[in-house]
């Protein structure tokens, strides 16, 4: 399999005057799995379809390795694709579906069926090879679609929300299977999803998109712990918006002076963005900074929801063993474990 890198250079696309992609740039290294994550309408699917050749960009270029494929039609791009909707050909058996790409490439029937069985074996469905799509479950159909997309040894694998039509358990299993296959075959993969857990779980890097642009692309840990913008901070994971007073480049949060890491204009009221796990809740001897609203036991950790005197809700995630004495209605003090935070001027409720 000749895996290649993928480069998307300055691609723009408008639909009836609405910008779907705005000078979009992306590089995916050989053998890497990159997820594009973002809310509906952010342009992630448009980007994927342009890479696949199913949509034509207004400007910009697509390269696979050193080859410019900007004007190459979809069927000549040698990219396997798995779709959100079930897309198996209803008139073909499972093995014929998987062998379809090889048939189009005029590969000998014996060779292509052998290859189809190899791929079906990889996705655990070799025993179903003679069945037809309507005889398979949704998860099985997506597995066959994955086998079909990989059978002709594509240079790039494109996944357009392939798990979104499946139930939770099947989703989790199949995403692990996708990652296992991708790693074992080393296929360069671009994966579009709106599910951040899915993206973070299996991707080498995650690109967060907003309004047709890539806001940030990085490894999942960095994206979560060090978001480059308030949009990324808000979109990825749960985020508290703590009312605070900024003074120059610092902000006072629960009595602690913390450095502000993003640019903001002047001093005054801001919302500090802090993850629940960065907030510690402690019992107060007298009147506290907040009152506990609920405490939810989640196993190893517990979620404590508190309310500040101004009505703002703060979530904290702490090890369960240290939350045993915290009960709803109690006055508590709060502290944060960060030395720098992102702030926004708009108070988000």
């Amino acid at each position: 399999m000749s895996n290649q890198s993928l480069t998307v250079k300055s691609v723009s696309k408008n639909f009836a005057g609405v910008k779907a992609l705005d000078n979009f740039n992306l590089e995916v290294e050989v053998g890497e799995l990159v997820a594009l994550l973002g809310p509906s309408g952010c342009g992630k699917t448009t980007a994927l379809r342009i890479v696949a050749g199913l949509e034509k960009q207004d400007s910009g270029a697509i390269r696979v390795g050193d080859t410019d494929i900007t004007s190459v039609p979809a069927y000549k791009r040698n990219m396997g694709m798995v779709f959100q909707a079930y897309s198996l050909f209803p008139n073909l058996s499972v093995e014929e579906n998987v062998a379809f790409g090889l048939q189009m490439r005029k590969v000998d029937k014996k060779v292509r069926l052998k290859k189809a069985h190899e791929l079906l074996d990889l996705v655990g469905l070799d025993s179903q090879s003679k069945r037809f799509p309507h005889q398979l479950s949704g998860g099985q159909q997506q597995r066959v679609a994955l086998a079909r997309a990989l059978a002709f040894e594509p240079e790039i694998l494109l996944l357009d929300e392939p798990l979104s039509a499946l139930d939770a358990q099947v989703r989790t299993n199949l995403r692990e299977e996708i990652r296992r296959l991708q790693l074992s075959l080393g296929t360069t993969t671009l994966f579009v999803t709106h599910d951040q857990e899915e993206a973070m779980a299996i991707s080498d890097r995650v690109g967060v998109m907003s309004n047709g642009r890539l806001e940030q692309i990085d490894i999942p840990d960095v994206l979560y712990n060090n978001p480059a913008s308030t949009f990324v901070a808000n979109f990825v994971g749960t985020m508290n918006h703590i009312p605070a007073i900024a003074s120059g480049d610092t902000v006072n949060i629960f009595g602690k002076q913390v450095r502000i890491k993003n640019s903001h204009s002047g001093s005054g009221e801001v919302s500090a963005l802090v993850r629940p796990e960065s907030i510690t809740v402690m019992r107060s001897q007298g009147a506290g900074q907040a009152k506990i609203v609920t405490r939810s036991f989640l196993g190893a950790s517990s979620q404590i929801v508190c309310q500040l005197p101004d009505g703002a809700i703060i979530q904290s995630l702490m090890p369960s063993q240290s939350t045993g004495e915290l009960h709803p209605g109690e006055e508590v003090n709060l502290s944060i474990s960060l030395d720098e935070v992102l702030v926004t001027h708009a108070k988000i409720t």
């Binding site: 696949a52 050749g53 199913l54 039609p73 979809a74 069927y75 000549k76 791009r77 040698n78 990219m79 396997g80 694709m81 779709f83 909707a85 079930y86 897309s87 198996l88 050909f89 209803p90 008139n91 073909l92 058996s93 379809f100 790409g101 048939q103 189009m104 490439r105 003679k130 069945r131 037809f132 799509p133 309507h134 005889q135 679609a145 079909r148 997309a149 002709f152 494109l158």
Partner: protein
């Protein structure tokens, strides 16, 4: 023991439909085996029909003209309608309406106008008939395919085929047409039957086919002409039924 529930309304509808089709056919058959003034029944009209020198000639001529019409219809309509559905064009309702025009325009007006529109080398040969039959069959063929294309995830299947390496021709031949197989079969049956029995346009353009020949022989032997018509009805019906029986939908066959 589980008993299957009997669907009485369905049985009533199917019975009425069956009677609607079978009573006229049965009556025609009964008429075709009458012995005329002598009374009684026999197959002598059928024997007479098969002994006519031109019977096979005109039946074959109409059959290959009908087959050509089916070919033209599929070659033009399947790719055109696939692209029309994929394009999601705002003109689709207009095109839907235009496809009904052959039902509205009088055949006399249509025959002359349509003939002039054909290339001259086609106008002067019997090959003009399949093109004109195609237009006559358009309202039925269009709707049959339209239903099929609406019933499948056309865009996803097309894109899956394209991303797997299929060009447009392979996409239509290997993916779309088999996916709308029952609609295509319906189109074939409707177009073939309509072409085989078409009379008005053929007479207007002074061509002789099986229906015009039947009209001619009816002047000599009415009961014989009815027998010929019965044969002309049964033969294509048998052929089309055989196609359906011996080439059923593979995926459905496997699932039984």
């Amino acid at each position: 023991m589980i008993r299957k529930k009997i669907d009485i309304p369905l049985i009533i509808v199917l019975t009425l439909l069956g009677l609607f089709i079978l009573v006229p056919m049965g009556s025609a058959f009964e008429y075709s085996i009458r012995n005329g003034l002598e009374g009684g029944y026999s197959f002598k009209n059928y024997i007479w029909a098969f002994n006519q020198d031109d019977f096979g000639h005109y039946l074959l001529r109409s059959a290959w003209l009908a087959s050509l019409t089916v070919l033209i219809t599929l070659l033009i309509l399947v790719p055109t309608m696939t692209l029309l559905h994929l394009s999601n064009s705002k003109f689709r309702p207009l095109i839907d309406g235009l496809s009904l025009l052959p039902l509205v325009i009088p055949v006399v007006a249509f025959a002359v106008g349509a003939q002039i529109a054909l290339p001259e080398f086609v106008q002067s040969t019997v090959f003009e008939l399949p093109f004109l039959y195609f237009i006559l069959a358009l309202p039925y063929a269009y709707r049959s395919l339209d239903i099929g294309l609406n019933a499948i995830p056309l865009k996803t299947l097309t894109e899956a085929a394209r991303s797997s390496g299929a060009n447009w021709r392979n996409t239509v031949v290997h993916v779309i047409t088999p996916a709308v197989r029952s609609s295509v079969m319906g189109t074939v049956a409707l177009t073939f039957a309509l072409s085989l029995g078409e009379y008005t346009i053929t007479v207007l353009l002074h061509w002789d086919t099986f229906p015009t020949w039947v009209t001619y022989v009816a002047q000599e032997n009415l009961l014989g002409a009815i027998a010929i018509s019965m044969i002309a009805l049964i033969v294509p019906f048998a052929v089309l039924t055989s196609i359906s029986l011996f080439a059923p939908d593979r995926s459905m066959k496997e699932s039984k």
